[in-house]
């Protein structure tokens, strides 16, 4: 059975400290910190029922980096459908999101590409929208092969404004500032944009972060993967047709 972990991105680039909350009885929590795609620290904790931990508590010897990820492994009984709370704090506020856990795959596991509909963007002169892509391939994989993803930018009226690619290294956090990406591609973000992001070869968790550029205030939510919109990805009869339809034209 695949081991499941809470996957915590870094928002150090936005001045935030990462943390998590688990509110169930546990025997043990094991937290791994990856920097530059490689395992950099492991910490263990035997918690009380409700535990809130922050990055400065579980790996105080390491300066938090923009590309790091942290994984939280829970050891105990009856944890199969558990949700975890991922939190970020600064001096001014705290944001949090409840999210599911991702499986840790064996070395050499063949991952399916991901499909993220980034349609909910707030792009104004004082507000940026970030797609936060955090991925975990495997602890023992040497992080050399890139996760290539295609980004298609449309306006709200469906016109394709630009198509580009990004590379999210294995076992890292990748922050995609949509307004900035649009401007780099000659697209005016304030008109309203919708992105289709496809590709990759890793286990991803995707979040969206809104940031007030004047005050640094943030908002966060996890993404809705295709399984929320259709049963096809998990239906063995429908899956292959769906994969062909959604990714058949993808060349990266």
């Amino acid at each position: 059975m695949a081991q499941r972990r809470l996957l915590i991105p870094s928002l150090a680039a936005l001045g935030q400290e990462a943390g998590f909350v688990i509110n169930v009885p546990l025997d043990l929590i094991r937290i791994r910190t990856f920097q530059g795609g490689k395992l950099a620290a492991v910490a263990e904790s035997k918690p009380d029922r409700a535990v809130r931990m922050w990055r400065s508590q579980w790996a105080p010897e390491l300066v938090a980096t923009a590309d790091e990820i942290n994984t939280v492994e829970l050891i105990g009984e009856g944890l199969s459908d558990l949700e975890g709370e991922i939190a970020f704090r600064s001096d001014d506020q705290q944001i949090a999101v409840l999210t599911g856990m991702v499986p840790l795959r064996d070395p050499g596991f063949k991952f399916s590409p991901i499909l993220h509909q980034a349609h909910y963007n707030v792009l104004m002169p004082n507000c940026e929208t970030y797609v936060v892509l955090v991925n975990l391939a495997c602890e023992s994989d040497v992080p050399v092969r890139p996760n290539k993803l295609q980004v298609e930018i449309r306006n709200l009226a469906a016109e394709v404004m630009a198509v580009t690619e990004i590379e999210a290294s294995l076992n890292t956090t990748y922050l995609l500032p949509i307004g900035e990406l649009a401007r780099r591609n000659g697209v005016v973000p304030e008109q309203g944009l919708s992105l289709r992001i496809r590709g990759g070869a890793s286990q991803f968790a995707v979040f969206t972060v809104f940031r007030n550029l004047s005050s640094g205030a943030l908002g966060i939510e996890h993404s809705l993967p295709p399984i929320y919109f259709t049963e096809a990805p998990f239906n063995p009869v429908l899956r292959s047709h769906y994969q062909k339809a959604a990714f058949g034209d993808l060349k990266i």
């Binding site: 001014d92 449309r154 469906a158 007030n212 919109f229 049963e231 429908l238 959604a246």
Partner: protein
């Protein structure tokens, strides 16, 4: 005996629904596409936040080679459960419908309340391989304050199709609140059913606890403010007298900086 009849009715309702969906999957041309819908979420339209709803043309991403119009229906209720408006919007392939709720409804809604999103497709052809589909959406709470950031929640549970069973149960949230600068939490609770429901929100902290009982009209909503301050931890439990579908109050935390952040509980 009195509880057996509602249970039997609820079970029968679920069986009818399942049979209906099965027919739709098998014969979408006759019975229409199988769509699980009428998902609900909170709107705010008060002094602190307005609401923008963002709805993708989801068939574009899942079946890009098709070209089907989606007609979305947006229905909003006031906090007492009264219908504010129901408006339809036609969205074409790869378009995105993202507008303030007052524009989508064609009128100003209440200060807060519940809304739902439904849809139907201009054609059932070419999307059979998707099986059951669902029009999910994102709700963006736009701050009135210049310093605030937009807050966001995904679409939640479906509106109840049948009157929920009268049966007490408690849902405990996995969300644990607390921060050195926390000055309070407002919870917004919705009744996704077509009958009156009673709820009791209990926020338990390390040294004190809060409780607030609320009666929610059918499709009604309520705001409950708790004076929860500091690190906590504060945990929320909600006792319902009916097994309603939507059981996750939306939390808005206030901080001494003046900033407000939100999450579903």
């Amino acid at each position: 005996m009195t509880s057996l009849i509602p249970r039997a009715l609820a079970r029968a309702g679920r069986m009818v629904d399942a049979a209906h969906m099965k027919l739709k999957k098998k014969h979408p041309g006759v019975f229409g596409s199988p769509i699980r819908q009428n998902m609900v979420q909170l709107y705010r339209h008060d002094g602190d936040f307005d609401t923008v709803i963002s709805i993708p043309h989801h068939l574009s991403f899942l079946a890009p080679d098709t070209n089907i119009d989606i007609i979305y229906g947006i229905k909003a209720f006031d906090r007492n459960g009264g219908l504010v408006a129901f408006r339809k919007h036609r969205v074409k392939h790869f378009e995105t419908l993202q507008k303030p709720i007052s524009e989508l409804l064609g009128r100003e809604p209440d200060e807060h309340g519940m809304f739902s999103v439904s849809c139907h497709y201009s054609s059932p052809s070419g999307i059979e391989f998707l099986g059951m589909t669902s029009p999910q959406f994102m709700t963006i709470f736009m701050p009135r304050s210049e310093r605030g950031a937009p807050q966001i929640t995904h679409s939640h549970k479906y509106m109840d199709q049948f009157p929920p069973l009268k049966s007490k149960f408690v849902r405990s949230s996995a969300l644990v609140e607390g921060d050195r600068n926390l000055t309070g939490i407002s919870y917004f609770i919705m009744n996704s059913s077509q009958v009156t429901a009673n709820a009791n929100l209990m926020l338990t902290g390390p040294s004190n606890s809060f409780a607030h009982a609320v009666k929610l009209n059918a499709h009604g909503a309520a705001r409950i403010d708790f004076d929860a301050r500091g690190e906590g931890p504060f945990t929320l439990a909600c006792e319902w007298d009916r097994v309603v579908n939507h059981r996750k109050p939306i939390a808005f935390r206030r901080f001494s900086s003046g900033l407000v952040t939100a999450a579903h509980s």
